[in-house]
Amino acid sequence: MSLLDLFARDEARVRKTSIAVRDLSVTYSNGFTAVRDASFELGAGTICALVGVNGSGKSTIFKAIMGFVKPSAGEVRLCGLPVDEAVAEGIVAYVPQSEDVDWNFPVLVESVVMMGRYGHMNFLRVPSRTDRRKVDEALERVGMTEYRNRQIGELSGGQKKRVFLARALAQEGRIILLDEPFTGIDVTTEAAIIDLLRELRADGHLMLVSTHNLGTVPDYCDQVVLIDRTVLAAGPTEEVFTQENLERTFGGVLRNFELGGQALHEDDDARTLNVLTDDERPLVFYDGKPRQRKGTDDKE
C-alpha cells in the first residue's frame, strides 16, 4: 500500500457520515433481480425510513449496505468508503428484528452490548478497559444500566430494543440499520425509543429504519426512501411522504379511507381526512398533510 493510499484512508475516517447508493442493482444467483437501479443519498444526523411492502427489496438494500450481497451493477459507499472497508472499520451497526433473536440464548444484557466491541478487540476477544468503559457508557445512555446482569429474555419489548441500540453505540457504528424496530411494541414504549433515536440523530448518527409502520414515520423520520424493487421516491419526509407516493409504493395493498369534512362534523371545517393503512399502524392525513405527534423533547 502506498503512502497516498494511507492518506486517502485517513481522510476517509474523518469524512462525514453518509450513505450513497448509486444505480444499485442486485441479482441473486437464482436469477431473481430484487433491486434495480436504486439510488439515494443520506447524510449525518438523519433518521430515514425505508418504506415498502414485503418483498419490495428492503432487506436486499440492507444486505447490500452491510456487504452481504454484491451489487450486479452500481455501488454503495459508506462515509465515502467501499462497503467492505466500511464494514471492516465497524462503521455499520445492525439492530435486528425481534423475531430474529433467540431470546432464550444464555447471555446477559452486558454481554450482548460487549459483542458490539468485538470488532475493536484482538482475535481472542479479550475486552480491554476501554471496551468495558464503552459498554458502561452505552448502557447508561439507553438507561439499561440496572438491567445489565439480566438474561436478555427477561426484558420487556422496549428494553430489548434498547439493549441492541446500546450494542450499536458500543460498536461506535456511525451508521445504524434498524430492521422493523417497532413490531410488537406498545405505543408508549415506541415513543420512548423514538426519543432515543432523536437523541442519536442530534449526535450525528445516520439511522436507516426499515418499517411498514406508516403512522409513526412523520413523527421521527426527516427523510424517507420509498421502494418497490427500485427507489420510487427519496427525500425529505414532507416532500416524499405524500398520499400519492404511498399509493404508488403500496399499490393495492394499501387501504384508503376518505372522510369528507361534512361526514365528520357539522361545522365549517371543510378539511378532508384520509386514513392510509397496510394493517400496521395507520397513517392519517388532514387535507393531504400527515398528522404528526410531538415527541417529549420537542418544544411545543
Binding site: A88, P96, P106, V107, S111
Partner: protein, 289 residues
C-alpha cells in the same frame, strides 16, 4: 479403612485404566464444549446422525487395517453427499433424509462387522471399548480431541456471536460461514473420537447432555461452557473409573452419570429448576392472596 482405600486405588495401578480414564476425560471435555453450542441451535440430533453414519467407515478401516479416523472421515463425506443428493432429487423433508441416510449407513456398518467378525466387533462399535483400546487408537483419539479443544479455545467467542446473531457477527467482520464449517468439522471429528469411548449409540449423549445440564444452571454463556466442560470431563473420568468395579460398559456408565447430574439440575437448579419454578409460582399466588 486403609484396605478400602487400597481397593479404590487399584484402577490407578493399571496402565490401561489410566489411559482409559484420561482419554475419556479429554473426549468428554471437548464433546461437552461442542454441546454448549449444538443444543442452542436445535441441531442436537445431528450428533446422533453423525455418530451412526461413520460406523461403516470405521468398520472398513479395521477390515483393511487403516487408521479408523480415515475411514470415519470418508464415511462422513459419504453421508453428507448422500443427504445432499437425496435432498436435491426429492421433495423429502430434512429430518426424513437424515433418518434415511444415517440408518442406511449404520446398517451397512453392522453388516460389514457381521461379515468380518474377526477384524471388527459389533460390540466395540456400538458400545465403544475404551478399556481395551489399542495404543494407536488411543493416540488418534487423544490427538483429535486435543486439537479440537485447542481450536475451540481460540474461536469460542466468535462462534458464540455467530450463533447468537449472525448478521451482527458479519457486520463486525467475523467470517460466519467459515466458522460454521469449522464447527461442523470439529463436531464430526469429536464424534469419531467419542465413538471409541462410548460407542455409536451413545455419542449423542456426549454432545448434548453436558450442555443441556449447564444451560439449566447459568445465564452466562462463558460459565455455561466451563460448567459443561467440567461435567463432560468429570463424568467421563469417573465413569471409566467406576466401570472397572462394576464390570459394565464404560459408555453406559458415563452416560448414566451425565443423566443423573442432568436430573439433579432439572429439579434443583437455583433459577431454572422445577422446584425453583414451583417456589416462584407459590410466591406469586401468595402475593396475590
Amino acid at each position: 479403612m486403609s484396605a478400602l482405600l487400597t481397593e479404590l486405588m487399584v484402577p490407578f495401578g493399571y496402565d490401561y485404566m489410566l489411559k482409559a480414564m484420561w482419554v475419556s476425560a479429554l473426549v468428554g471435555a471437548v464433546c461437552a464444549f461442542l454441546s454448549a453450542y449444538l443444543m442452542l441451535k436445535g441441531w442436537s440430533l445431528m450428533g446422533d446422525a453423525l455418530g451412526h453414519s461413520i460406523v461403516p467407515g470405521v468398520a472398513a478401516a479395521y477390515i483393511i487395517g487403516a487408521p479408523f479416523a480415515v475411514g470415519a472421515f470418508f464415511a462422513g463425506i459419504l453421508a453428507s453427499l448422500g443427504m445432499t443428493f437425496v435432498k436435491q432429487h426429492s421433495r423429502l423433508r430434512e429430518d426424513a433424509i437424515i433418518g434415511l441416510v444415517f440408518t442406511t449407513l449404520f446398517a451397512l456398518g453392522l453388516l460389514m462387522a457381521s461379515l468380518w467378525p474377526s477384524s471388527v466387533s459389533i460390540q466395540t462399535i456400538v458400545l465403544g471399548n475404551i478399556l481395551a483400546i489399542s495404543d494407536g487408537d488411543a493416540t488418534q483419539v487423544a490427538i483429535i480431541a486435543a486439537v479440537s479443544f485447542a481450536i475451540m479455545v481460540f474461536i469460542w467467542k466468535d462462534l458464540m456471536v455467530t450463533f447468537f446473531d449472525e448478521t451482527h457477527a458479519k457486520s463486525i467482520g467475523v467470517n460466519a460461514g467459515l466458522l460454521k464449517i469449522v464447527f461442523f468439522t470439529l463436531l464430526s471429528a469429536c464424534t469419531v473420537a467419542a465413538l471409541q469411548t462410548v460407542g455409536a449409540c451413545l455419542v449423542i449423549a456426549m454432545v448434548v447432555t453436558p450442555g443441556a445440564t449447564a444451560y439449566l444452571l447459568t445465564d452466562r454463556f462463558g460459565r455455561l461452557v466451563v460448567i459443561a466442560i467440567a461435567l463432560g470431563a468429570g463424568t467421563s473420568f469417573v465413569g471409566a473409573y467406576i466401570s472397572f468395579f462394576v464390570d459394565g460398559a464404560t459408555g453406559g456408565v458415563i452416560v448414566t452419570l451425565q443423566t443423573v447430574l442432568f436430573l439433579l439440575a432439572f429439579y434443583f437448579a437455583p433459577k431454572h429448576g422445577v422446584l425453583a419454578a414451583r417456589r416462584k409460582r407459590l410466591a406469586v399466588t401468595e402475593a396475590a392472596a
